[in-house]
């Protein structure tokens, strides 16, 4: 479904990704782990089309289509979703109206009519219940004054509403207490099916207790240096990253 080939990227002349290769098939859950500064968030931003970074080499292909020339909104319309590590506060726009706008823009781009109001309301009710969100929460300004946990829950709520092909969860576990973590992970698991895929970007193994990955990749200094199964995450949790670095240097 998503294929990343020899991806190199830099920001202000500094190379951050140095040849990433990754193949994610429909129905799979992949995790990318790595120490701070390894390039994890850069990778997720680039897949989503953030223009701050310059892709110098390589390609990102979704279902046979090269995404390189597409704007972030066009990638979103094709089914790319990024749950932000730091969701942006937008005062004056309510959660409900933001998601309505997002859904209808996607439908417009795909040549569909706007979603009828009753259908929209039903969908909002269903998905907000899945994330155990308070109704009052939906009429508040987007992310404004939300706690860390509320912001992340709101991200997964939007993911549920938009039903993407590939969902990238960038450090979704940071700032979550154990109850919120359980709710968020449960939401992701319920949305998961054989036609979509999830890429979890995380520093810690904790979230992977709830969202079990099929593959774990270790990203160090802009390169994937090791790939394994779910047990690799446990090993990393126990031993840290130094042993991999040493393995590399050896």
């Amino acid at each position: 479904m998503l294929t990343i080939k020899n991806l190199h990227a830099s920001v202000e002349g500094k190379e951050i990704l140095r040849g990433i290769n990754l193949e994610i098939k429909a129905g799979e859950v992949h995790a990318i782990m790595g120490p701070n500064g390894a390039g994890k968030s850069t990778l997720s931003s680039i897949i989503a089309g953030n223009e701050t970074y310059e892709v110098t080499e390589g390609e990102i292909v979704l279902d046979g289509e090269d995404l390189s020339e597409l704007a972030p909104d066009e990638r979103a319309h094709k089914g790319v979703f990024l749950s932000f590590q730091y969701p942006v506060e937008i005062p004056g726009v309510s959660v409900t109206n933001f998601i309505k706008t997002a859904i209808n823009e996607k439908r417009k781009a795909n040549g569909q009519e706007e979603m009828p109001a009753n259908e929209m309301l039903k969908l909002i009710r269903e998905k907000s219940e899945l994330l155990e969100m308070d109704r009052k929460f939906l009429s508040r300004s987007l992310n404004e004054g939300f706690s860390g946990g509320e912001k992340k829950r709101n991200e997964i709520f939007q993911m549920a509403m938009l039903d993407p092909k590939i969902a990238i969860l960038d450090e979704t576990d940071s700032g979550l207490d154990i109850d919120a973590l359980r709710i968020v992970a449960n939401g992701v698991n319920k949305l998961k099916n054989e036609n979509n895929a999830v890429l979890v970007i995380t520093h810690y193994q904790r979230l992977l207790d709830y969202i079990i990955p099929d593959f774990v990749h270790v990203l160090i200094d802009g390169k994937i240096v090791k790939t394994g199964g779910a047990d690799l995450a446990l090993e990393l949790e126990e031993k840290g990253y130094d042993w991999i670095k040493q393995e590399q240097e050896a």
């Binding site: 979103a76 932000f84 942006v88 937008i90 004056g92 706008t101 859904i103 939007q158």
Partner: protein, 438 residues
Amino acid sequence: MELREKLLASFMAFEEKVDVADALHNVRTEALKNFEEKGFPTKKEEAWKYTSLNALLKNDFSIFPKKENNIDIKDVKKYFLNDLDTYKVIFVDGIFNTFLSSTTHDGLDVCLMSSALTKPKYKMVIDTYFNQVASREESLTTLNTAFAFEGAYINIPKSRVVDKPIEIIYFSTGNEAALMVQPRNLVIVGENAHVQIVERHQSLNDNPVLTNSVTEIFAQKRAIVDYYKIQNDVQTANLIDNTYISQKQESRVAVHTFSFGGNLTRNNLNFFHHGERIDSTLKGITIIGDKQHVDHYTLVNHEQPNCESHQNYKTILDGQSTGVFNGKIFVEKEAQKTDAFQQNNNILLSDKATVNAKPQLEIFADDVKCSHGCTIGQLDENAMFYMQQRGIPKKEAKALLMYAFTSEVTSSIKIPELKAKIAKIIATKLGVNMGFDL
């Protein structure tokens, strides 16, 4: 002939034509004398440092339209608050238009200044209020006073809650090559009375227009006045709006100014407090581009204790446009426990756009709460990426962010139909087809 000379020369002919009472004649003569001494303001004056009238005054403006012009309702319908029953006081090239208007004398007066100034039954009200809060020093205000004759006259009796909004619209047909109009409005709102007023100036083609308008508003004890100014005129229209508000105790007056159009717009908005526990609100949204210029010059004069004022102006500038915000707050020695708030936020979309912002607080009382904040910035790139990531295209994301930026002002519009209209004007202005159903 220069405009100043032309105005001075036509004053006598004008006075003969309008045939007003002696008392008024003296008021006018005094006013004209002041204008004659001072002339049009120049950038040398502190209050006009950032706004130049020079280029504008080079137009050969007619001072009176040569004939009565008529317009077809279907051409101007879109400028009204549709889907809503309103009182209407409509002028075409400065002359009252009966056909488009819907006035009343049924317990309240929503009618014409020319009647009020000439008919004996209004004499007492005119003597009490006319030119009582408008400046007798400021040259453009006195120029208006000298030629004051037509405009809206609104008098709401005690305890009357006016059942529907009042629309005051000044249309310019452009049948004159260049026209100067000087509307004069008087609004008196009695004790415990409540009124909503929407004022608009609109040109119907591209011939230059200069409007020098004066509005006096008197809010008696506990009166509530919601006043909205829609400035979305064509880019050859120029507006100098001078509004003077006198408030008695516990009255609440809010003025919202929406500046989207015009070539040059100057808003002089002045609040004077005469009583305690008064509440004044001054809010504005300015969205301009090209070479447009909008200058907000506000004054709140806190003279009595326990009063509040709230100012909030949001400005978005594109192209080579220029914005000015000058907010004066005076707190007199007696005005203890004053709560004065002033906020002015600006977004520059282009590196050729400029904004000059100047808060000016002069506080002589020692137990007051006064705050002011001014920001100038660009659109938040992170917010743009976030919205685009959710599938909202760049242009729409930008528009949504800008509308959200103005939401502290739009949220306090009390007439839903007006709020929808403003949202629509903003969407058109930003080139998107969005409901902003926020």
